[in-house]
Subunit: 110 residues, 2 copies
């Protein structure tokens, strides 16, 4: 919301979660930004490259998929031929215990 | 998962969330069951009646909507002409502070 307000929109929030909608078109890229621990649900298929600190991850998803996103900083680029439409459910409470040591870059299966 | 394992499926879970997929067809109904605080994302349009303790709520949603579900017990019935397809992101951590006093029956806007 801070770095790319034209791509992200807050759908609603309450005490426990904030829900963001993300939409872009091929070629669009985000600035470096941070996510808290989140769940992403894809509402379109898309192909993206996620990058941070010299690492890159290719993300190729169909619509209707649900993925976990470890708290992280990254930037993303739509490298496909379709618009991206997805929602993020951000968890507002701090992660109990210690931070995840094996945080994955980009979305992961759980 | 306990009362209606033919309608719900666990997609994945980790320390913080459990993700369920729900699918049914017109006329299907669930038994009385409980949800923890959850976020629901609709992947189809559907028309349902949610009921609990003599109260009823009509739920009529399009695909791609995101709704909050207060922790609650209820049962649901597909009263429309289309299959239901949705996902639930269940929050595993207990709600901080006191339980919500104005818990809504069925999904709410936030």
């Amino acid at each position: 919301m801070v770095t790319d307000p034209q791509l992200y929109r807050v759908l609603w929030e309450n005490e426990r979660v904030r829900v963001l909608e993300y939409r872009d078109v091929p070629g669009d890229a985000t600035h470096l930004h941070s996510h808290p621990d989140s769940v992403m649900v894809t509402l379109s298929s898309f192909q993206r490259v996620i990058s941070a600190g010299g690492r890159e991850a290719q993300v190729d998803l169909e619509a209707g998929q649900v993925r976990w996103l470890d708290a992280q900083e990254h930037q993303g680029r739509n490298v496909g031929e379709t618009a991206t439409h997805s929602v993020f459910i951000e968890l507002k409470e701090p992660r109990p215990g210690t931070p995840r040591q094996d945080a994955a870059l980009g979305p992961s299966a759980s």
